[in-house]
C-alpha cells in the first residue's frame, strides 16, 4: 500500500486524528531535517519543511491561525503575528495526493454546488472533514474572487470565529488614492487586530526584510528563465508558486528562492536545460491541474513543448518598506494585474509573451472561475492582434471529473500542430 492509499483509507475510516495532532507534523519535520536531498532538490526540502512547520505551528496553537484567501499577501498575516492558512492551497495539496475526490464529495454533501470553483469546494470538504487547522479568525480580502469571500464567511460561521473583510479598491481612475485608502484600511485592521494578534514593529521589520530578499531571488529566477532552452519546468513552477503565495516574509521563503536561483544558475552555466530538445515555448495563464495527470509530460516529453513562464510567477510589486510597511503592502496588493480591469492582465500577458519569447499562450480555463475566464475574450483578441497564438484550454485544477483526457489531448496537440504551421 502506498502513502496515498494509506491516507485515503484512513480518511474513509475516520481514523484522522493523527493528521490533526501537532506531534504528527513535528515528527515529520524531524524526519525531513535528516533528509539530505540530491543536488538540485533543496528547494523541495525547504518547501516540505515549510508546510510541515506551518501545520505543526497551526495545530500547536501558540500563535493565532488566520484563514485567508490566495493573493492576500502572506506578509500581512506574518507581520500581524498570525499564521496564514490559505485553504485553497491545501485543496491543491490534497489534489496532488489524489485525495481531492474525497473532499469534493464532502463539499457536495454540505450542499455546495459543482458550479462553485473546485479550489473552494475542495477546501470546504477539508473543513467539513475537520482536516485542516481551525482558524482563530478569518480575514478575507475582496480580491480576486467573490467566491473566496463567501467561502471564508462560511468558514467563520462553521468555526464560530471572527470574520474580517478587507476591501481592496479597483485601481482604476486614481491608483494613488486607492493606495492611500488601502494603506489606511490596513493600518486600521492592524489596530483592530492588535488585541487578538501580536503586532510588533520587530516582526514587521523581519517580515519586510525576508520578503524583500525572497523577491530579489525570485527576480533573478525569473530572469534566468528567459534562457532558451528553459532551465526550470513550468509544471514545477506552477506548484512552487505556493511558496510566494504563502511563504514570503519568512526564512523559508528566502531560502527557497535562494536555492532555486542557485539551481537555475548552475543549470544555465553548465548548459543543463530541463528539456534539451525544446521545440516550443509556451506562456501559461492561470494555475494547472494539481491531481496526477499526463498534461505536462505530454507537452514536454511527447512534443518538446516547455512552459517557459507563468503569469502567476511574475514579480509585479516593488520592495516592501520597513518604515512605511502598510503603505508599501497596499502597493503590493494593488500591483497584482489579476485584480482590477482585465486590461492589466492582458497587457502583462503580451509583455511576458515577448520577454520569454514564447510561440503561444495557453489559458487554463478553470471551471467556475469567473475572474479568470471573464478576460478570455480580451486576451484572445489582443494576443491575436500581436500575432501570438492563444489556446483556451478548459479544465479543472482540483476536480479531475472535469478533466477530459482525450479532448484535452486533442486540443493541445492541435494547438502545437498549429504552431508548427
Amino acid at each position: 500500500m502506498n502513502i496515498k492509499e494509506l491516507i485515503a483509507r484512513n480518511l474513509q475510516n475516520k481514523g484522522i486524528k493523527y493528521f490533526t495532532r501537532p506531534s504528527f507534523y513535528f515528527l515529520l519535520k524531524i524526519l525531513t531535517a535528516f533528509w539530505r536531498p540530491q543536488k538540485g532538490r533543496w528547494p523541495q526540502k525547504i518547501s516540505l519543511s515549510f508546510y510541515l512547520d506551518l501545520l505543526h505551528r497551526a495545530y500547536r496553537k501558540k500563535q493565532p491561525v488566520v484563514w485567508t484567501n490566495v493573493y492576500t499577501p502572506p506578509e500581512l498575516i506574518w507581520a500581524l503575528g498570525g499564521i496564514p492558512f490559505m485553504p485553497e492551497i491545501f485543496a491543491a495539496v490534497a489534489a496532488s495526493l489524489g485525495l481531492a475526490p474525497f473532499f469534493l464529495k464532502k463539499a457536495g454533501e454540505a450542499w455546495y454546488s459543482t458550479d462553485l470553483c473546485s479550489f473552494h469546494r475542495g477546501a470546504l470538504g477539508m473543513m467539513h472533514s475537520r482536516l485542516v487547522p481551525p482558524p482563530d479568525l478569518v480575514l478575507a480580502t475582496s480580491q480576486l474572487c467573490d467566491g473566496a469571500v463567501k467561502f471564508l464567511e462560511a468558514a467563520s460561521a462553521f468555526y464560530q470565529c471572527p470574520f474580517y473583510l478587507l476591501h481592496i479598491p479597483y485601481p482604476v481612475t486614481s491608483p494613488a488614492k486607492a493606495q492611500t485608502w488601502l494603506a489606511e484600511e490596513l493600518t486600521a485592521l492592524a489596530r483592530d487586530l492588535k488585541p487578538l494578534l501580536l503586532v510588533m514593529p520587530q516582526t514587521i521589520n523581519k517580515v519586510a526584510n525576508h520578503s524583500n530578499q525572497a523577491r530579489e531571488h525570485l527576480l533573478a529566477v525569473n530572469q534566468l528563465r528567459q534562457q532558451i532552452p528553459s532551465p526550470y519546468r513550468g509544471s514545477e513552477a506552477l506548484s512552487d508558486v505556493t511558496m510566494h503565495l504563502l511563504a514570503l516574509g519568512t526564512t523559508y521563503g528566502t531560502a527557497f528562492y535562494r536555492h532555486l536561483e542557485d539551481n537555475l544558475s548552475e543549470r544555465v552555466k553548465n548548459k543543463r536545460p530541463v528539456l534539451p530538445q525544446q521545440k516550443y515555448r509556451l506562456l501559461w495563464l492561470h494555475f494547472r491541474p494539481y491531481y496526477p495527470n499526463f498534461l505536462f509530460d505530454f507537452l514536454e516529453k511527447h512534443h518538446g513543448a516547455a512552459v517557459a513562464f507563468e503569469e502567476v510567477n511574475a514579480v509585479t510589486w516593488e520592495k516592501l518598506s520597513v518604515d512605511d510597511f502598510w503603505f508599501s503592502l497596499a502597493a503590493k496588493i494593488l500591483a497584482n494585474p489579476l485584480w482590477g480591469p482585465a486590461e492589466r492582465r492582458v497587457v502583462q500577458a503580451v509583455s511576458l509573451a515577448r520577454l520569454y519569447q514564447v510561440h503561444g499562450v495557453i489559458h487554463f480555463a478553470q471551471g467556475g472561475c469567473r475572474q479568470s475566464n471573464g478576460s478570455v475574450f480580451l486576451l484572445r483578441e489582443t494576443l491575436r492582434r500581436h500575432k501570438i497564438p492563444f489556446l483556451n484550454l478548459e479544465g479543472d485544477c482540483i476536480d479531475e471529473r472535469n478533466f477530459m483526457a482525450g479532448q484535452t489531448m486533442t486540443r493541445l496537440e492541435s494547438f502545437l500542430e498549429l504552431l508548427e504551421g
Binding site: 497564438p389 478548459e394 472535469n402 477530459m404 482525450g406 479532448q407 489531448m409 486533442t410 486540443r411 496537440e413 492541435s414 500542430e417 498549429l418 504551421g421
Partner: protein, 256 residues
Amino acid sequence: MITAGIDVGSNTTKVVILRDGEWLGDALVLTGADNRGSAEKALAQATKAAGIKRTDIAHCVATGYGRINIPFADRKITEISCHGRGAYAVFPGTRTVIDIGGQDSKVIRIDAPGRVVDFIMNDKCAAGTGRFLEVMARALEITLPEMAAIASKSKNPVTISNTCTVFAESEVISYLAQGLPKEDIIRGLHEAIVDRIESMALRLGVEQEVTMTGGVALNKAIVATLRKRLKQTLLLPPQPQLIGAYGAALIAANQA
C-alpha cells in the same frame, strides 16, 4: 507513392488510400469497442478496394479520437489538421471548415496556403454532435436518413431548450406525449444542433469559402439550416465523412 489515412472516430473508422495524391480506395466500418480491430478491418477493406497489398503502403497517418491506439500508423495527427488539409485539397478556396462528427464538432480557420490558423471545438457535452441526433432518432424510433427528410416538412419547429442530450431526450418524449407533430420536434432538434455550431462559428469568425465535413454533413436539413443561419454558401465534398482520413493520407504523402 501509396499512402493511407486512418480516421478512428467515435462512431466509424474510415480509411482512404492515395497513390501520389490520387484517390485509390476507401472504406468505412463501425468503430465499436475495439479501435485497433476496426482500424485493421477498415484498412483491409480499403486495400482490397484499392487493389493493393498492405505492404504497398509507404506511409500511414492516423487521426481521430482513436489515433493513439493504431500501432501501425507512422504518425498521429489531430483531426483538426486532417480535416483542414482534406477540405483545402478538395476546395482550395476554403478558409473555414465546419466539421460535425459523431462525438465532437469543430470550426477550423485556414489561411491561403492551407495552414490551420485557429480552431474551436465543442465543449465537453455531446450537444451539437452526430451523437445527439442518433440518440434522438432512437427516441423517435426512426432512422437518421429519415430524420432529415421529415424535418424538411416542418412549418413550426419546437424549441428544444435543454442542451444536455439526456434531458433533451426527455423533452422530446414530453413533446411527443403532448401530441406535437413529429416533424416539428425533429426540426427543433436540428435547429438546436445548428445553434451550437453557429455560435462556435461566429465566435471564431466565418470567412468565405466555407466547407462542411464529417458525417453530419450528409444530413440535408442540417446543411440547409446552417446555410440559412450563416448566410453563407456551404461547400460539400462528395464524401464528407471521409475528409479527415483523406487529409491524413495527404499529410502522410508529405511526410513520407
